[in-house]
Structures are given as C-alpha cells and as structure tokens.
Symmetry: C2
Subunit: 660 residues, 2 copies
Amino acid sequence: MLELVLGAGGLAILFALVLIAVVVHKPSGSPKMVEIAKAIQEGAGAFLRRQFTTIAIFTVVIGIILYFATTPLTAGSFVLGAILSALAGWIGMAVAVRANVRTAQAAHEGIGPALNVSFWGGAVNGFAITGLGLLGVASLYYWLGNPALIIGLAFGASLVSLFGRVGGGIYTKAADVGADLVGKVEKNIPEDDPRNAGVIADNVGDNVGDCAGMGADMFESYVVTLIAAMLLGSSLFGALSSQVLYPMLMAGVSIIASIIGLFFVRMNKGNEKTVWNKFMLGLLVTAVLSAFGFAYFASQLFANWTGIFGAGLIGLVTTILIVLITDHYTTRDGKPVRSIAEASQFGAGTNVIAGLAVGMKSTMWPVIVIAAAVGLSFWLAGLYGIAIASMGLLSMTAIIMAIDTFGPIADNAGGIAEMAGLPEKVRKNTDPLDAIGNTTKATTKGIAIASAALSALTLFASFVEVTGLVTIDILNPIVLIGLLLGAAIPFLFASYLMRAVGSVAQLVVAEVRRQFKEIKGLMSGKARADYARCVDICTRGSLRQLFMPGLIAVLSPVIIGFVLGPAGLAGAITGAIASGLLLALFLSNAGASWDNAKKYVEKGHFGGKGSDTHKAAVVGDTVGDPSKDTAGPSINPLIKVLNTLSIVLAALFVQYALIH
Amino acid sequence: MLELVLGAGGLAILFALVLIAVVVHKPSGSPKMVEIAKAIQEGAGAFLRRQFTTIAIFTVVIGIILYFATTPLTAGSFVLGAILSALAGWIGMAVAVRANVRTAQAAHEGIGPALNVSFWGGAVNGFAITGLGLLGVASLYYWLGNPALIIGLAFGASLVSLFGRVGGGIYTKAADVGADLVGKVEKNIPEDDPRNAGVIADNVGDNVGDCAGMGADMFESYVVTLIAAMLLGSSLFGALSSQVLYPMLMAGVSIIASIIGLFFVRMNKGNEKTVWNKFMLGLLVTAVLSAFGFAYFASQLFANWTGIFGAGLIGLVTTILIVLITDHYTTRDGKPVRSIAEASQFGAGTNVIAGLAVGMKSTMWPVIVIAAAVGLSFWLAGLYGIAIASMGLLSMTAIIMAIDTFGPIADNAGGIAEMAGLPEKVRKNTDPLDAIGNTTKATTKGIAIASAALSALTLFASFVEVTGLVTIDILNPIVLIGLLLGAAIPFLFASYLMRAVGSVAQLVVAEVRRQFKEIKGLMSGKARADYARCVDICTRGSLRQLFMPGLIAVLSPVIIGFVLGPAGLAGAITGAIASGLLLALFLSNAGASWDNAKKYVEKGHFGGKGSDTHKAAVVGDTVGDPSKDTAGPSINPLIKVLNTLSIVLAALFVQYALIH
C-alpha cells in the first residue's frame, strides 16, 4: 500500500499546482496595485533569499559534522529535510504574495470572491507542506525500508523550522510595531498608509512570519510526527510492519479528505460569522472523512484494529477541541476578552494584568485535553497509540494551514487596498476577513502548539528507544536535575525573543522617522518613501537576532547530553516539553486576547477608539505582539529541535557522556 | 543531644523576647504618631483576627477529616502545626506594627538608629519563626520518637502558610494599588498622604503581606524541610539514628550563629550602600559560623562525616549565590533594570515587554544553582544529602527574616513620618532604608522560592518513601500525564491571584473616591478620612479571593491522587515543582525589576519623575505589584501544600486510586 501513500503525496502536489494556476489566473487589478504587490513580493523574496543563505551555511556545516559524527545517510537525509522544508516555505509564500493583490481585486465583487481567492492561496501552503512532507518521508522509506535511517530528515526540517519561525516571527512584529509607532502614534496617519516607509515591510512581515514561519513549523511537526510514529512502530513491531505503514496511510487519507473538505468552504455572500462557520464545516467534513479512512485502513491492516483506529480518532477530536478552547479564550466577544477590555478602563497596568491572567488560565484546558489524549490513546494502543493520536491531529495539516494562511493574505489584501486607494467597499469586504483571520490565527496557533507537544512526546518515545533507556526515573537525581534545567530552557529562549522584537523595531522607528524628516514632500504625498531600506533593516536585524535563540536551541541538548548523559537529557526534554507547552500557550493566548480586547474596545465599547480605555488596550496589544507572534510560537520548533537533535546524537551521548 | 536542640529553640524564643523588650522600650514619638501607629495596629489586628477565624474553621474541618481518614496523631499534629504557624505570624506582626513608629522616632537621630530599631523588630520575626518551628518539631520528636508521626505538623504549617501568603499578598497589593490609583494618579497627592482613605490599609498591607505572609511562608519551609529531612533520615537509617538528629542540630547551630551574626549589622552612620554591606556581612558571619557548627556536629555524629557536612555547606553557599543572582537582576542600578528603564522611553508597551524578558531570563541561573546543589549534595551523601543541603539553606532563616522584615517596618516608618508631618530629615533617613528594603525584599524572596523548591523536593523524596514507589518512570504514561497536569497547576493558581488584586483594588478605588466626594473638607485637610472602612474592604475582599486558589491547592492533589494514583501524583508534584519554581522566579524577579526601573527613572534618568518615560515605567510597576507580591510568592506554599497533603493522604491513594 506504500504506492497509495506515494500517490496521495503526489496528489497533494498536483492539487497545489492546480490551485496555483487558479489563483494566478485571477485578475490582479490596477497597475498601482500590481506595483505595490511587486514591492511586497520583492521584500519577501529578499528576506527568504537571505534567510536561506544563512540556513544553507548552517546546513552545510552541521551536515558535515553529522557526516563524520553519525552516518552519511543521516547527513544526507538531514540536508534533504532542510531543502524540503525550505521549498515548502518558499512555495507557500510565493503564492501568498500573489494571492494578496488578487484578493484585493476580488474584493471589488464581494466578500465571497475575496474569501475564495485568499483561501485557495492559503490552501497551496497546506498542500505543499503535506505533499512534500509525505512524499519525502514515504519515498525515503520506499528506498531504504527502515525509518531509523531517515531521522536526519526530521532534524533537517526542525532546523529550518526554527530559523523560519524565529526569524519570521521577529521580522513580522518588528516591522509591525516599528511602522505603527511612528505612523499611527506619532504622525497620526492610518495603518497601511503609503507615506509610511515601514508599510511594505509590515506587509512582507505578514508573509514571512504568519505564512512561511507557521508553514515551516507545521511542516516540521508533520514530518517529525510521521517519522517518530514510524520509528516507534518499527522498534516495537519491525521495520516492515503494518504499524510503520499506517501513519503514512493516515496522512494520505487526510490529504484526500482535506481536498474534499476544502470545497465546503466556498462562499458567495456572508459576514464574519458565516466565514467562521464555513471554516468549521470544512474542518468537520475533513475530520469525519478522515475518520472513515482511518477505520478502513486500520481494519485492513490489523486484526485488532479498533484500538489503533480509536487512537487516531482521539487525535482528530483533539484538533476540534483545541480549536474550540482557544476560540473561547481569544475570541473578540467572549467573556475572557471582555474582562481584559473592562480592566482597560482602569489603565494600561490593569489591562496588562488582566491579559496575563487570561493567558495563564487558558493553559489549563488544552493541557487537560492533551493529557487525556495521551492517556486514552495509550490505554487503547500502548505507546504506539500515542504516536497514532499525534498523527491523527497532524493529519489535518492541509486544511488547517489553508485556514491559517488565508489570514495573512486577507490582511495583505486590505493593506494593498489602502495603499492603492481603492474604493471604500473593497476594505469593507477585506476587513471582516482580516478580523476572522486574527481569530483563526489564534486557533491554528493553538493547534500548532498542541501538535508540537504531541509530536515532541512521540519523538521522546523514539529517543528513549534509540538510547536503550529502560526507565527514566524521576528519583534518579540526574533525571531530576535534567528536568529542572530543561524546564528553564523555554523561559531563557523566550526572553531573548521578547527583546529581539523591540531591538529591531527601534531600528525601524529610527529609519521611518528619518525618512519623514529627510525626504521632502513625503508627508504631503508628493514624494515616495524608500520602502526597500525598511525591508532591508528588518531582514538583517531579525536574522542577527536569530543567533542567541538558535544557539540555545542547538547547544543546550548537546551540553546536557554530554554532561548529564542520556538519562539527564531525557529529563531535560521532558521538562522542556512541559514548561514549553505551558509558556507557549500562555504567551500565544494572552497575546491574542489582548489583540481582540483592543478590537472589542474599537468596536465602540468603553469609549471606543481614541478613549483612554483604548490607549490602555493598545498597550496590551503591543505587549501581546511579540508574545503571540514571536516568542510563543517559536517555542514549538525549540522543543522539537531539542528532541530531534537528541535522537540524532543519541549514540554519542550514550558513549561519551560524563555521567551515566 | 536532643536537649541541645531544645535549648537552642528555647534560646531563640528567649532572644526574641529580649528583642521585643528592647524595641518596645524605645520612644514612640508624638501623640499624632502614636495615633497613626494605633490605626495600623488595629487594622493589622482586624485582618489577622478575621483571617485566623477563617483558618480556624478550615483547620477544624480538615482536622476532623484527618482524624477519621488517617490517625488521631496526624490530626493532632496538624492542628499544632497550624497553631504554631499562626502564632509565629502573629508575634512577628505584633512587633512589626510597634517597631514602625519607633523607627520613625529613631530616624530623628539618624539613619543608624532607625536601622537598628527596624532590624531588631524584624529579627523578632526571624527568631519567633525558627524558635517555634524548632521547638515544635523537636519536642514532638522527643515525645514520640518517630518523625513519621509528626508529618501532620508540616501540613498544618503549609495550610496556614497558604492562607497567610495568599491572603496577605492580595491584601497588601490591593490596598497599595487602590490607594495609589486615586491618590497619586487622580488627585495628585503624594504617597502616604493622610487625606487618602486607603493610606492606613496600605500600611497595614505591608505588615500582613510582607511581614506575616512572608513569615508564614518561611515558617512552613523551615518546618517542612526539617521534618522531611528527618523523615528521610528515619526511613533510610532508622527513627532514632543520628541522621534524624542532625537536621535539628543544624537548625540549632544556625540559630546561635544568627544571634551572633545579628550584632554585625549594627550601624551608626551610613547610606544605602553601607546598609547593604552590613547585611551581607551579617549573612556571611552567620554562614561561616554555621559551617563550623555543622562540621563539629557532623564529625561527632558520623564516622564518614565530610560528605554530610559538605551537603550542608552546599546549602549555605546556595543561599549566598541566590542572594547575589537575584540582586544582579533586580537591583536599581544594574544592567537588567536599566534595560527596562531604557525601554520605557518608547512607551508602556516596550517597558512591559522588557520586564517580561528580564523576568524570564532571571530564571536560568537560580535553576542552575539549585540543580547543581541537588546534584552535588546527592553525589556527596545520597538522597539524604539533598535534604541536608535544603536544611543548610533554611537554617539561616532567622537572619534572613530579620533582613526581610526590616523592609516593611522601614516602609511603614516612612509612611508614619509623612502622615504625622514629621520634619524633612526624618524621611531623608527612612527613605534609603525603604529603598534598600525593596532590594532585600527581592533577594529574600529569591531565597524563599529556592527554599520552597528545595523543601518540596525533600518532601517529594519522603512522599516516595511513604507510598513505597520504587521508580517514578516518565515512560509510564500515567506519570507523564501527571507531570503535564501538575505543571499547569501553578499557572492556573497564579491566574486567579493576578486577577484577585485587581478585583479588590477596584473596591478600594471606589471607596477612596466616594470618601473624597462625600466627606466635606477632606481634600482641604479639615475633615478626617474613614480609614477603617478601607481596611475592612481589603480584609473581606482578600479573604474572599482566597477561595479559588485555596481550592485549587487543596483539591488538585486529592483529585489527581484518587484518579491517577500515587505514580500519577508523583508526576504531578514533579511537574508543579518545576513549573512553579520557574513561574515564581519569573513573576517575582520581573516585578522587582519593574519596580526598580521606575525608581531608576525617578532618580532623574530619561526625563525623571513626571516625564512620559516615567509614566511608562509606572505601568510596569503596576503590573509588577501583583506579580512580585501576590502571585509569585504564593506559588511557594502552593507547591508545599501539594506535597504535604499528598504525604498525609498517601496511604489512601495507594489503596483507593482508580488507576495504579
């Protein structure tokens, strides 16, 4: 049945190509719109090129080290993983920066056509990720016949994902905050105003952060979970067992289900509520169809198939539950967000306190759901069941990425409409899409976090298999020490990312201010701003800020592994997963709820726009920006890199560690 | 040698009585000062009375449950633990609210006399805690001859400590924030202005939160670590072994060392720097003397004494290191705090981001130090070594509490000076003490957190002994699930506490506003504010807000224990310790650094007081208040209650849990 899997992977690529053709053939509007879109494309391209150069250097260096320290096959699959991940990111973004202007053009006709273009554009990202991921894994397995030989692929994907998430995350928020601080606050001009030199960088940021960064993160989770599940199946039941095949079949099934689910999102007329309902419908259809597919193949492959099928089903249900929980805590008109808006009446301090409280509280239910998923799937099908549940959750990556990536495209479309001076009705059609994009971004981020935690746990099980640890006993002080140190890693990592945004944003502020001062006629609209310089500042700044977080991610498992040995490292990984899961949920959800609390006030509550309450709410939103779009989601690749790197180097730790 | 221990405990009580006599015989100043001090005393008394009533109800109910569910001895020692803890808190506070006015009076003569009175007043708290703690434990052991029978004492202390820290923490910040929001922000009158109806409540808060709350926390850590170390010694070497005696001897030795160390803090003239240096000198003298005592008794009791002595030494060194690290991250003129002040130039949002980043970063070194202490002490003397290291850290509680409690006394003295309209020079002498008090508060809080983590780890080892768990294997999904759920508990708990302060503060704001509006002549100084009402609002409000956090702390181990069984609960405790340690450090250090960043700006940097930078810094300080004084430190009793309650109910979990 491996041919079926390869076929499904190919189908995903084919479908992505069809979607690209459909989107690219949509009209792209007036010359002015095309010119603006071109600037965004160039900026995004410039960022990716420079990022890829950095990544390429790292990949070559690490690849050479792996070549000598492990096996040539590991080194080779590592390079392939890095290339595939980069390719997926590049395809997704190349389409997004073309779909944005076409969405703006389609918005002339109504909200429905605009939704369709942006959603299809986003879907390309989803199918590129799942298609390349599944094809890469399945064909390597087809060739080598042993999942243990392709773990390098997972580490390659992890490394690129770390760069993509962190670099993109810093870029997008630095540009956003920097442009706003001068434009909205100092000069009192609207968002996306073409006189603001940072405005193109801001739109580029949406693409490199929310689209390529998120894509790299999900690609990593997808590939990593797939490989980890296969590894586990292999070590428990043999390298050619049905247990190795089944995770790939699940991925294949859900790709087809996602294609069908996609057609349920089509819309002609509607509003925010309708769009959200359409998304939920698409998700539900995909989940139900996937469930049938899971059941069919499980019954074909296994004698006692209900347990394994049940575990997969738990994964699908977990996806839906995480969406609903995240939505509860972050949606604009919900109780938690309103509590933040209310607190804003007493000033910025109470607004921030309320947001921190909502963020902390929002961690409990996702953790309970994840813990229950782990427990139930283990009860149903043992350690392998946990891997299958993770795969169930991640199998829906295609449709989830479509729902996610549509957001930055719609956001960009609104920006282009503003900059190109399109009629009022266009923004009226893109604004609700932008708003719903903010909500879906928060919920898909919740899924990305849950998936990162689950895939890390699956990987962890593989790490244990590889090192031959029989128990990881918390009563062993080495494990306990590792656990404490590991739990601190996400905090240290996040602290650098919170600062990074501020540092780069300050450079943007200085540049935008300089241009307003030095370029004559800019404020009156007679001269044109030098957008490229801001794009360049963001690109270089965010890549420079990558250094420390990258070092922490790569060095900490190496140091802990060589000093405390495999048991200590196992403790550290566990600690990092637990604290990382909580910190990521806390930062992401707090950020999203601050954002929506501001939007709630802007809808006219508690004095509306311009009131003191609004000013207080803006402070929370500023704090939330790096929390939700940089530090929070970057913890995902962090915990996965800790894991994949640990597995890749496991044999060395077993042999050379100081303490055993 | 148990007599020596009892003697040292008695000596601590005696010394506390001498200090009380010395402090109370100091002149208490003008009638106006006495009147103000009386109001603070009454407010603090009213709070403690009502809090004790609540605690008494809980104690009786839980005592009855324990009587039937466990043994009468456990129930009895539980009640004794609760009473001793309450008594220690009451003594410490009763002296603090008398030392404050005498400090203000002494400040007429200079900074030296003011320091002496406030430090001696604070020392009463330290010796009451250590004296009652050591006497309680040692005499019960003297009577029963088995540490396993007195675990109830630890749980009693835990419960009161939870109430004391949480209730006091909410009170102090609600009063502080509430009074400032109306006084400083709306009415533009200085802090501690007698026209502000919330001003007495604010001063009461310093006593019930920073003095009684912190005292209850440290009393708990002290008693709990002592018992846990003895328990471990007992189960490893027998109930009458030297290993059971040694922790008590350590406590006794350090009491005597602390008395001597105390005399090195005396000062005649000086400034902030001198005071800090004196404190460090006192701490160092105490540590060195303790080390000699540890060595002497270890060499008397054990053949291979160097390992056990080494573990105790590690505890002492850990104390000093934690002080230095916390000081680095939170001191006013240090680099981390300056980075927050600099960020404030760009607005409140960047100020908050910078503070969050400093808080996150500040977690790494304390965790490394604690992990190293655990590892080294285990290497030296096994599991028992970890307990001895914890005891080494906690043995210095007396002098640490003296250094800590002097802060709120000096703070109060400044408030009384302001309210009584004392000459300028008095505030000039109390202000530097107040400032240094803020720094010492942050560093002693660091020690309280480290001690809570270490005592929780020691307790954890006892829990494992009691339940007879041979391993706690992370590869067991039940353990893993427990770990994830446990890690979420501190986040949920903290979220309620962050909100609690805001909720009660809003009631204070409403009341202070009402009084300004309805009491004629209040603003012009002709009429007197109704302080008692604000005190009452804070008292009732903070006790009501205790409910949910208290429920979380008490119910979560019960639910997890009965559902997931001892192994799952062990995982949960580990998770809660790891994430609780990080969250407590993060919140406390972020809060302290925001506070000092504001003070740094107020010293004239970046525009000084009244500038936009200052306004931004004030926002961070507001966010920091509940972080550092309510939510952060309340996590200490939380993780200890989880542990002690788990031990007390361990037998039930073993028998009746759903999953094994």
